[in-house]
Point group: C2
DNA sequence: TTATTTGTTTGGAATAATTCTAATGTTGTG
DNA sequence: CACAACATTAGAATTATTCCAAACAAATAA
């Protein structure tokens, strides 16, 4: 069996034809494609492929950690006063954004010959408040 | 003179009424608002305010470094095979995304009580290829 | 096997964020 | 004042993404 199929199975994703092809594509194309690019590149080989399937599959793969979703905040850009350097934690439940201390200068790894104009570090997950609320709701009565 | 006005002037942005009010808002509201949130919160005080003005102003402020634009990649989400940890550089000219080495584990600054499910570090700027091309085009003939 | 259920894909409509555009308004300069 | 340059407005257009109901496929039970 192809490793693609077993990687999907191990992650708990049923290896449908479309999912195998999309994951295979992601393994072979390290070009950081958009969902639309994946769709365009696969639709010749899979003429009935729907864009919704591409989005569904990419989300499923990302949720299981098989691919990475490169986007800080969803669904819309957030703005912040430019105070001192800091990182951001975005909660996927309440969508609040929290600051955390982070100093970019001390670990500056610019690619040689590139001009870095800005940088961001973003963690995604669940915030303390939302975790607490989830615990309370699941507490036995 | 309000420091808001002079900060705008120092950055080379003409301090129109709308710009002053928007920048003022960003200084006072450290809630990482969306453009729409800024618009909603200001339109009572400035009834004629247009959403386009909010977008224009936020972009101008971000370009001058007075505020930060919290979004990794634009305009659409990009996907990446989940290989080993690395950071991303996105070029604002050609939109290519480059990998650079970065190890998240060695500098793990999780907020206490928060669950971090994923994290990203993104640099934005101009890539070497685009810089080279710009140099060639401006070379004297 | 057939019937039933469960989950997946499809295609198009709906939604939402952002950008574009043309007209109008404002500011500064000669 | 007249003119140019620039900024704002309002709404249309564009784009990315999600939603939805119907068709399809796979798995399971009878
Ligand atoms: Mn912040
Ligand atoms: Mn990468
Ligand atoms: Zn939360
Ligand atoms: Zn470039």
């Amino acid at each position: 069996m192809g490793s693609v199929v077993s990687e999907l199975e191990n992650a708990g994703i049923k290896p449908s034809y479309q999912r195998v092809r999309i994951f295979e594509y992601m393994q072979m194309n390290r070009t950081h494609p958009t969902a639309d690019q994946v769709f365009l590149d696969l639709k010749d080989a899979i003429p009935t492929l729907a864009k919704a399937t591409v989005y569904n599959t990419l989300h499923a793969l990302a949720e299981k950690g098989l691919i990475r979703e490169l986007s800080t905040v969803q669904p819309s850009t957030r703005y912040d006063y430019a105070a001192e350097d800091h990182g951001h934690f975005t909660c996927r439940i309440c969508n609040r954004i929290y600051d955390f201390p982070y100093d970019f200068d001390s670990r500056h790894s610019a690619l040689s010959g590139f001009v870095v104009e800005s940088q961001e570090i973003v963690q995604k997950g669940i915030c303390q408040a939302c975790l607490k609320k989830a615990q309370q709701n699941s507490a036995f009565p």
